[in-house]
Amino acid sequence: MKKMINRWLTMILLLIVSGPLLAGDMLMVRSKLPFPLALKAVQATIEARGYTVAGVENVDLGLLRMGYLSDSYKVLSFGKAKEIEALIRLYPELAPYLPLQILVFSERDDTLLVATSPAYLATLFPHTGIAAIFARWEGDLQVVLELVRDAEHHTPVEQDGSNY
């Protein structure tokens, strides 16, 4: 009986203190595409949804040099210039989080794609005027990640004829 009570107390405590972390705070998908194709697929899919890819950068100073087995590890920045400009004009403290980013890296034969959820950003900056933009970004980003997740070799990612 004591054990049972302890267990329930633990569960209740866990529910109370496990904080605001939702699974949705970090968006993450696994794609069967090999790294180079997944990277191209993300770029094509983002652009097909009206965003500009601002850059694809290395995170590292040379992963191979550091003893890693793979340097298939890039960060892709993207956004809509007008939206970003307007947001920073109103809320300059948003600047460190913009443009949006997707981290792309290989994991065995697959590729993992990770991004901070714009819905999570919305909780950090709870201004009513920008909630709709974060919500749209969240929807678009989820679609982008799902399309790349479900993409297979030699099939177009978007229905716009683009092939990566």
Binding site: K3, M4, N6, R7, T10, L13, L14, L15, V17, S18, G19, P20, L21, L22, A23, D25, M26, M28, V29, R30, T52, A54, G55, E57, V59, D60, L61, L63, M66, Y68, L69, S70, Y73, V75, S77, K80, A81, I84, E85, R89, P92, E93, L94, A95, P96, Y97, L98, P99, Q101, L103, F105, S106, E107, R108, A115, T116, L124, F125, E146, R149
Partner: protein, 358 residues
């Protein structure tokens, strides 16, 4: 002849059992589909694999895993996660959705588990000694589990799984005594977790170990993380200098701390034509080998916030320097292994920003 026939039959049965017992966990076709499959793909597949073959998370299709956990264990694990151990709590899902995912995961099971939940009676003191002898090497002396997230770069790839944190409050809330006991009794073929029957320990010894693991609950409750002491999403300092001097001072502050300025440019770089970029929104990326290596080895997802990044914004004649607050972004990762890195990054940002703005 009858004896020979029996021998052939038994051999075939043995080979079949070996094949099905977990040597090839992905070979079992999951017949669950529809909404359950969609929910699994959306929420679980990135870490546990589309076919339940693991990668970052536990290989859910492993038969020894399937036979040693209850539906209740799966439900609570999804619902509560593993605080500080990457597995998030899916508190955003409805109960019916979690149950669908549990059904989907069960689609890989060849034999349903045979576990009757009832508390185990054991001696935790004796269990502690046995835990030290048989479990601590992989699970840590205090049951803290293996280091790293399980993601590529952060652990060797020659093992299908990292040792779970047994002192984790989420694990303890999900795993009943009988689930822990079943894991000890049967092991998990295909992982380093071996059946304790191999060690010739008695069932009472196993009960003692279970009691000791259960005793972690009290410590786990005490170990809960506090909210960040600085909860601002961005660390912002107003600079008394003009824009150019502030940028210069920032770079000086970085170099003085043995960092390289890796690249710099306008925030709009790549988004608009170069001639239209706002030159009063400047981003400087910095770091050094150790600064980048440590977090990436701990959790490759941290690359979303690497290298270090400081942004300078001038608006209405006011120059501000700012960075994303590492204490806040920490919540994204649910990884206790990052605690030291996060603290170091926070201090680095504060020092660099403060120096540039004085």
């Amino acid at each position: 002849m009858a004896t020979y026939g029996k021998f052939v039959f038994l051999s075939l049965a043995l080979v079949g059992a070996l094949i099905l017992s977990g040597c090839a966990p992905v070979a079992v076709k999951n017949m669950e589909g529809g909404e359950a499959a969609r929910l699994y793909a959306l929420n679980c597949a990135a870490c546990h694999g589309a076919a339940g073959d693991g990668g970052i998370g536990v290989p859910l299709a492993l038969q020894d895993f399937q036979s040693s956990v209850t539906d209740d264990y799966l439900f609570r694990t999804i619902r509560l996660g593993r605080p500080g151990r990457v597995m998030p709590n899916f508190s955003n899902l409805r109960d019916e959705e979690v149950q669908s995912i549990v059904r989907f995961i069960r689609g890989w099971a060849i034999n349903p588990p045979n576990i009757v939940d009832k508390p185990v009676q054991g001696d935790p003191l004796h269990g502690k000694a046995l835990f030290g002898a048989y479990c601590a090497e992989c699970h840590g002396a205090g049951g803290e589990g293996g280091a790293g997230t399980g993601v590529t770069f952060s652990r060797p790839r020659d093992q299908p799984i990292m040792a779970p944190g047994l002192n984790n409050i989420g694990y303890l809330a999900a795993a009943s005594d009988q689930v822990i006991k079943a894991t000890l009794m049967h092991g998990r073929d295909g992982t380093p977790m071996r059946s304790f029957r191999r060690f010739r320990v008695s069932e009472q010894d196993i009960d003692d170990i279970v009691s000791y693991v259960r005793s972690f609950e009290l410590q786990a409750a005490r170990r809960q993380a506090l909210p960040p002491r600085d909860a601002r999403p961005a660390l912002v300092f107003q600079s008394p200098h003009d824009f150019a001097k502030t940028v210069h001072k920032l770079k000086q502050a970085m170099v003085a701390r043995n960092f390289l300025v890796i690249r710099e440019g306008t925030l709009e770089s790549g988004l608009v034509n170069r001639s239209r970029e706002n030159q009063r929104q400047w981003v400087i990326y910095f770091g050094n080998l150790e600064f980048i290596d440590k977090p990436l080895r701990t959790d490759p997802r941290f690359g979303l916030f690497l290298p270090g990044r400081v942004t300078v914004v001038e608006q209405d004649g006011v120059v501000r320097v700012m960075a994303a607050n590492p204490l806040v972004i920490n919540a994204l990762f649910n990884n206790d292994g990052l605690a030291a890195v996060i603290e170091e990054l926070y201090q680095t940002y504060m020092n660099v920003l403060r120096e540039a703005a004085t």
